[in-house]
């Protein structure tokens, strides 16, 4: 057996847990090897000195202090016991509140119903074409009826009256009801033109 193996199994040997063959081998090696003998002696002596060292003395107030702490521990335990019943009651109340909230939650969560109304589409009424007014005959050099373009006159007149239906709609009771839609409708018409 090598010295390194002795070091590896030294604790088993020292504590008496090494197997018999191992023990015999270690003892055989120790009887021959001075270094390993020295190692065993150092450990033995060192541990003997350590065991011989005076222990740390207990402070005089060690036990009175401990007694005092344990006495107050009993008090804490009693107070904790008292607090436990109060805590239980508070917990029960809290649980009841949570259950109540859970029961009412659908009612609390539901918002007012939203209804989507279809937009009202309306077309502008057809306005009958206005016949161009016949102007009296004038002398040459002046503008004649033929020279006045009927389209321009017509356009002037239509411009004058083109919002009439809208004015009617604006002040009718039906339009008041659908005022929002009416404004949308107007906007839409303007876009078309």
């Amino acid at each position: 057996m090598k010295c390194s193996e002795i070091l590896e199994h030294f604790s088993d040997y020292l504590d008496g847990v090494a197997s018999s063959p191992m023990r015999a081998e270690i003892e055989a090696h120790l009887s021959e090897c001075g270094d390993c003998q020295r190692y065993r002696d150092v450990v033995d002596r060192g541990v003997a000195i350590l065991r011989d060292l005076p222990g740390a003395p207990l402070r005089d107030d060690f036990r009175p202090r401990l007694r005092h702490r344990i006495y107050h521990l009993d008090d804490e335990r009693i107070l904790d016991g008292g607090a436990t019943s109060a805590t239980t009651a508070v917990t029960a109340l809290g649980m009841a509140a949570v259950l109540l909230l859970a029961a009412w939650s659908p009612a609390l969560r539901s918002a007012p119903p939203t209804v989507r109304l279809l937009p009202i589409a309306a077309t502008a009424p057809r306005i009958p074409a206005v016949r161009p007014m016949r102007l009296p005959q004038v002398r040459e050099g002046f503008l004649t009826a033929a020279t006045v373009r009927p389209a321009s006159i017509g356009s002037v007149r239509t411009e004058l009256w083109e919002d009439a239906h809208l004015l009617l709609q604006e002040y009718s009771p039906v339009s008041r009801q659908y005022r929002g839609q009416a404004s949308l409708l107007r906007t839409g018409l303007e876009n078309e033109h």
Binding site: S11, V43, G46, I49, L50, G55, A56, I70, I78, G82
Partner: protein, 217 residues
């Protein structure tokens, strides 16, 4: 009112034969029987557990953390925890293993907290630096101190050697060499498996021997 009535519940159980006789009886019985008495409401039984373990735990914690004053506080805390959780103690296990486990965990927490505290860390580093850079007195052949001084110095060196061991090696070493715990008990106390306990103990012994070898003839 409620407090007074509840307090009656923790009052000591009256045992026939007088206080002196009762104490003698408690001293004679095993740990598990004392624990059982304490659980049945015998307040003197807890006192018996304290008197059985206070000094042993103090030595163990002191050797583990290296601070006498703090060790007293940690042992107090150990007993407070034992008192508080005695009802949860599994009576099929050894009481000594349980109480040492509590003390060991407190000691480990203390060492962990110290390593996080820069001031304590600095003090530890300084102490180690001082130890490393102190002149080797035993190599000076001109000066031979007397036997008494030499013995005292050797004791100090052995104490220092234990303190120099890495924390997890030191714990196993102290439990085995000073408390005489078996490998199985050490495994239970430290929460390691048997293989780890053996390996740590072997390394701790090697380190210890290397540190003290120059001082031992």
């Amino acid at each position: 009112m409620a407090r007074q009535s509840a307090k009656k519940k923790v009052e000591k159980v009256e045992v026939p034969g007088g206080a002196h006789e009762h104490r003698r009886h408690l001293k004679a019985i095993s740990d598990s029987e004392v624990v059982q008495s304490a659980l049945e409401g015998d307040s003197r039984a807890f006192g018996e557990l304290v008197s059985r373990y206070d000094q042993r735990l103090l030595n163990f914690v002191y050797r583990t953390i290296g601070d006498r004053e703090r060790a007293q506080d940690l042992v107090q805390e150990t007993f407070v925890r034992v008192y508080r959780h005695l009802i949860r103690f599994d009576q099929t296990k050894k009481f000594s293993t349980w109480i040492y486990t509590i003390a060991s965990n407190l000691a480990k927490n203390e060492l962990r907290n110290r390593s996080r505290n820069p001031l304590v860390l600095f003090q530890t580093l300084k102490k180690n630096w001082d130890a490393d850079h102190r002149p080797l007195e035993w190599e000076d052949t001109q000066y031979k101190p007397d036997d008494l001084f030499r013995k005292r110095h050797l004791r100090e060196k052995v104490e220092e050697a234990v303190a120099q061991l890495p924390e997890h090696h030191r714990l196993v070493f102290v439990l085995r060499e000073l408390e005489g715990k078996s490998y199985e008990e050490i495994a239970d106390i430290t929460g390691c498996n048997l293989g780890t306990v053996k390996s740590r103990l072997n390394r701790a012994r090697n380190n210890f021997a290397q540190i003290i070898a120059p001082m031992i003839d």
